[in-house]
């Protein structure tokens, strides 16, 4: 027995496994933190329309970003699709995205939904708003996010965990608008008013509101849409807060072209296509979100919730202030 030789031989045997498939020329490689079932229909539609093949891998935002960074100039990825502006902002900070100047994207996507620097672009809007139990709350009782911190809501509020980025973004935007001190008071008020420990997702939270464990909460609208589609009998309704001042907090899912993209031109074409009419429908409607392109009408169900004023502060602020928001929520005891 020659162990060293065996070891080398078995390493050699593994070698064919090592080589990644060779990439064709008219192909785009996507890393996506948006779920497969929400993006694959878009990829299929684009391939059908243009013949360009799209390779993709899905995953969690943090690890995908770490992977992009570690791969550096060797990365196969051309496009990074992710949910939440905070993640896109972080990707830009880490220097893995490329600056893009595109008139199409400029025209299609409103300024507050894209990076001022042109490194990433919002493709759908996710509104985080108030949901309430229609048997226990009148819309007149509701006004603002801040209002939910008031004493009249004691023991009546349900919230999702502060570990979810949606809440981190919401609080970050409140810091941007109201300042850190005021925001902390409000968040402390929310925590005092909680009827039960924070839930780990929006659907659970809404089911608790419907079941009467609490009366109101804060959720993303597409969770509401999905729940009401499957259980239309639930006594739940949406409320658009802060309509007399800054408007409803919105976040995005979006995309940016990677700095070391091998198919940068093809990826840009695809990104522009994503901001256009047909793709915007597919992108937003698949998950009952709002199209980022204001020319495109939302899904009829989404439209039925009524028009609302959205906060037009640039969503990049959510990234800039996210760490401060997390620290603030820790101080306030928001778990």
């Amino acid at each position: 027995m020659k162990p060293l030789r065996y070891a080398l031989l078995s390493l050699l045997a593994l070698l064919p496994l090592a080589f990644a498939p060779v990439q064709a020329a008219d192909e785009i490689v996507v890393y996506s933190a948006r779920n497969e079932q929400l993006i694959k229909p878009l990829f299929d539609a684009y391939t059908k329309e243009t013949g360009v093949n799209i390779q993709f891998v899905t995953g969690q935002e943090g690890p995908l970003l770490a992977r992009l960074k570690a791969e550096g100039k060797n990365t196969p990825a051309d496009l990074l699709i992710t949910v939440d502006a905070g993640n896109l902002w972080q990707a830009a900070q880490e220097g893995v995205l490329a600056k893009v100047a595109s008139k199409t994207l400029h025209d299609n996507i409103p300024a507050h939904l894209r990076d001022p620097d042109g490194q990433w672009f919002g493709l759908s809007i996710r509104a985080r708003t108030i949901v309430y139990n229609t048997q226990k709350v009148k819309p007149a009782d509701l006004s603002t996010y801040e209002g939910l911190g008031a004493a009249q809501w004691k023991g009546r509020l349900c919230l999702r965990s502060s570990k979810k980025v949606y809440n981190q973004s919401l609080v970050a935007m409140m810091i941007a608008r109201l300042g850190e001190q005021k925001t902390e008071e409000i968040v402390r008020g929310w925590v005092t008013n909680l009827a039960t420990e924070p839930h780990s997702d929006d659907t659970q939270e809404m089911e608790a509101i419907a079941a009467g464990q609490c009366d109101a909460g804060i959720v993303n609208t597409y969770y509401y849409g999905r729940l009401m589609k499957s259980k239309p009998e639930l006594p739940l309704a949406l409320y658009w807060p802060n309509q007399n001042d800054r408007g409803v907090h919105v976040n995005i899912s979006g995309a940016g072209i990677t700095k070391h993209a091998k198919h940068a031109q093809a990826a840009l074409k695809f990104l522009e296509w994503l901001s256009g009419d047909k793709a915007q429908h597919l992108f937003a409607d698949a998950n009952l979100e709002f199209p980022a392109n204001p020319q495109v009408q939302p899904d009829p169900l989404v439209a039925s919730w009524g028009a609302f004023k959205q906060d037009t502060i640039n969503v990049a602020e959510a990234g800039k202030l996210q760490a401060r928001a997390v620290m603030l929520m820790d101080r306030a005891g928001y778990k």
Binding site: N35, E36, V57, G62, P63, E197, K335
Partner: protein, 555 residues
Amino acid sequence: MSAHPGTGAMAPGRLGARARRMNSGWHIVTLLIAALVALPILVPFLSWLHPEGEVWRHLAHTVLGELVRNTLVLTAGVGVGVLVLGAGLAWLTAMCEFPGRRIFEWALMLPLAVPTYVLAFVAIGLLDFSGPLQTTLRTMFGADLRLPAIRSTGGIIIVMVLALYPYVYMLARAAFLSQGRTLLECGRMLGLTPWQAFLRVALPTARPALAAGVALALMETLADFGAVYIFNYDTFTTAIYKAWFGLFSIDAAAQLSTLLLLFVAFAFYLEHHFRGAARFHSGGKLAHERRFRLTGARAWGATAAAGVVLSAAFLVPLAQLLVWAADTALSGLDARYIEFTLHTLALGVLAALITVSAALLLSAARRGSRGNLSNALIRLATLGYALPGTVLAVGIMLVLTWLDRGINSFSETWLGTPAGLALASSLTALLFAYLVRFLAVAHGPVESGLERITPSITQAARSLGAKQREILWRIYLPMLRPGLLSAGLLVFVEVMKELPATLLLRPFGWDTLAVRIFEMTSNGEWQRAALPALALIVVGLIPVLLLMRPSRTKS
């Protein structure tokens, strides 16, 4: 039974020159493997080069105290729970006779196929305020009825105990079976009651197996993020993810992970230290002996206990998943599920082969050497199971991309063309990740198998003129077979359930059933995850049933 200081079975001094040369060759290979596996586990330590004072100050001032307390409570609760449940049920099915024993002895392994996060989301779906149970009770007893909350410390401990007790059950059962009854009867003859015999003879003798089982359960508890996230129960792992995803500090996350590792290493050291040098070898063959026949209330009590555990950990969750799948998700069933299943199987089998081989090599090498370096490296290499999966996955990726850069500069210089990311986005990367993560899982059963091969056996063989190769093929492998099989099947089940490394390192198109569950749950669609979760459990049943076969024919 003999208790003696652990001397190596193949101590170099006793071998001939040829054997020694060969031994040193194996030794180098083994060291290389151990070093390679240890590398990603060491990567997080590099983060200490970048101090993250602000994040640390913040955590220390706000949540860290509570997180550490929560983690200690959780590990203590889960540790005691899996020990009592695992050892108790193993004792019942291995040594006693009661109605339904022949079914329970294998059925109690089934929860191993249910991922902890699946059990957690089923528990919440079923038992939370808005779930069917409480809703029904409220319609019966009035809307003001309040039950103890499932989303609580007690709730998460129960869920984790139910998900993790099979590790202890499996190893304890094998240990009890191999002890046989003679040992106990010696105790009885010396005047012990049956309970005393169990507590003072059977349990201490099974200690290595129990410790290995509890260690696996606790490492999984410490590394868990899925179940604690679903319960919104903040542990030390929560701080790691908070630092990384919330505060955008991957360095602080890595630093926190190293503390977790040091804690586990210290716990191992303590266990090892207090176990001392004692080794237990059961002299007899695996006995076909009479079991203690339980009668009357005791017999039915045993049946009820096993039945309750099996229902709570497996049957009820399975039923709930079936209901959800029928309700919502059958529409999602398509041809791709064949692909997901095949990928899951292929990865599981390959990883099991590689990991068990490595575990065997390392264990054998450790017995053969007294070197402190190899000992330390091997200890380190089996710590990967205690790191949160995502942190470990990134560590592995960093090592691989670093190797890739080396390969690239080599191929650019010598071949004039870059190799791209030959390693980091390949199947090899993923299999390597499984090796790093699950070496600990394979290590336990292999090690306890090796401990059964006493030095006297090898000495006897050698004195009869057996060559090293003959000793390996005719003594080691047959005696190790059950241990290797258990190790392989455990790794298979673990790989099947694994998520973070699979997500990050899988090549394009290599989606598995666990990835499918992630796609649904990360979007909050728990009930649509029922279908892939069911498929996962069904695939997982195959090895669990295989795993139980040898011990069933034995008893």
